[in-house]
């Protein structure tokens, strides 16, 4: 009987050891095979969401491994994005839209920071406003981004939105005179981009009417917001959701898909 009990315990320990080892191996396998997303960015205040997301652990919270890669200017950054040297880019609106107009098939998935210029004229003049907004930052992906990895991009965008929330919370709690020279908005906002596109005279007669719209992937931003709205909803997220133009999903969860 003692022998039987010992055998039982030995079996149990063996199973435990195997389970732990399997878990360790599985984790190691997962760690080595989880893709590291190389995010190119500029060293400007408008790109702050990248650094906030990295420093505050938002990428990790969303389950994406991100390596930040700094670029001196948007032209070099967009070249790197096109060549595949980086996977995602946070680059200037003007250069990004010009690249798209020139035929580069980048897709815009989120907005970033725009420098604030305290000019009463800018508030009254749409063209001046667009000119200012063209100096802001956009988040872009290359056309080769595989459909099977759509989830990764949604997670990255969710981390980006978290970074925006962290920044807004910091601004609302900071005492004394707040030095906020940048307006952040993670919404890609097609209509704002369309206004800038027109101001920069980028639409040519040979382009289809939906040329720009085909490069603005608002669905990703909407899916990322949906992902965050599943958790605790705070006023900042609710405000983003109110401003977003996202087509609602229609159907009960138990509807079967073909």
């Amino acid at each position: 009987m003692v022998g039987g009990r010992a055998l039982h315990y030995l079996n149990f320990i063996a199973i435990l050891v195997v389970s732990v080892l399997s878990g360790t191996v599985a984790t190691s396998v997962a760690a080595t095979t989880a893709r590291t997303i190389r995010l190119g960015y500029l060293d400007t205040p408008g790109s702050a969401l990248c650094r906030i997301a990295a420093e505050k652990g938002h990428f990790r919270e969303e389950g994406v491994q991100v390596e930040l890669v700094r670029y001196p200017d948007s032209v070099k950054g967009l070249e790197a994005l096109e060549k595949g040297a980086i996977d995602v880019g946070a680059f200037a609106v003007r250069e990004s839209l010009r690249a798209i107009a020139a035929g580069k098939n980048f897709r815009i998935i989120a907005g970033g920071g725009t420098p604030i210029k305290n000019s009463p004229l800018a508030e009254l003049d749409g063209d001046l406003q667009s000119e200012n907004e063209s100096q802001g930052i956009l988040l872009l992906i290359p056309p080769e981004w595989p459909n099977s990895e759509k989830g990764t991009i949604i997670q990255l965008t969710a981390a980006w939105i978290r970074a925006y929330r962290t920044n807004q919370q910091r601004l609302s709690t900071s005492s004394g005179r707040s030095v906020n020279q940048v307006h952040f908005d993670p919404n890609p906002d097609y209509w704002r981009l369309e206004r800038i596109w027109r101001t920069l005279a980028l639409q040519h007669p040979e382009m289809k009417r939906d040329y720009l719209a085909s490069h603005v992937y608002e669905e990703i931003y909407c899916d990322a917001l949906d992902r965050l709205l599943l958790g605790q909803i705070d006023p900042i997220l609710q405000q983003l959701f109110s401003k977003a133009i996202c087509t609602p999903n229609c159907c009960p969860a138990n509807a079967a898909k073909n």
Partner: protein
Amino acid sequence: MKRIIALTLVFALTASGIMAADLPKLRVGYVPEPAHGLYFLAKEKGYFKEEGVDVELFQFGSAAEGVAAVKAGKLDVGTFGTTAPLLFISKGSEFTFIGGMMIGGQAIITRPERLAELSGKDLKVYKGKKIGLVKLSTGDVVFRGALKKAGIDVKKDMTFVEFGSAAAVVEAVKKGAVDAGLVWPPHFSLAEKHHGLKVAHYIEEFYPDYTCCRIFAHTDKVNADPDTYRKFLTALIRAYKFYKTNQEETVQVYTKALKIDEDIVRNETYVKKVADSNPDPLRKGILDFWQHILAAGYVPQDYPVDKHINTQIYKDALDSVIKKNPKEKIYQEMLAFYKKNN
């Protein structure tokens, strides 16, 4: 003799196979709402093939994905609400509305103890209330239009609380976080069945014959082959007659195809008649809907949406059916409805 029969059979089967292979194909996207069952009726009763078109149906859970599939050329026809195709059109997509799939269908639900307070034929009962809704859903847009017609200012007289899904709206109503919620079929029936909530109003009561899901296609495809789309709509017109005159079989077809509770399908389709599976393009309804979207500020600039509505293909389809069935009352009613709404 047996050899002759066998040869005849082989010949007939081969001929039908060849004919099916020759029929123009349409890949049609839809969402699993009871009112979309007209597609399945037309397929089940063989109307598509009889009219000369081979239809393949694809179910989507997301209107955005479905519309994107039409834009990418992966679908030849889409049925994804009215909001989604209009938003895409406003941004430059070349879509054309050619028909309809659903008229009406939105309802306001509340807790049973609030029912008396929210009863009546006047939308003013909602003044001062918090209404949960899914932003940009058909109900959101049409309700705003109904409130405006009733002289109610949505910004001053009530509070809209936006949610990401119909399920979230139902949850909010259940918990009392909002006074009432606006959802679409089958969500309000599910809310009644599973959570004890009650329908306070159907939006139809305040805004008759409003557009819900529309049928649209890429303009290039419609212009290149209007005859195939006419055959497609002819089959749907015939399916509509069947839906109006064969309740039990329609319920069975809808239930099986859409995998929605049979009682809910029957109740919504024939008892409460919350929506009409009507293939009419409803041009005036689409134009009104666009104005409500603009008034709500969802799109910042106007666009001539009328250029994207083709009612002639449907009219030709309806005329062809009436020509073959001149005494059929339902088709005459459809013609009168067409004249009034287009």
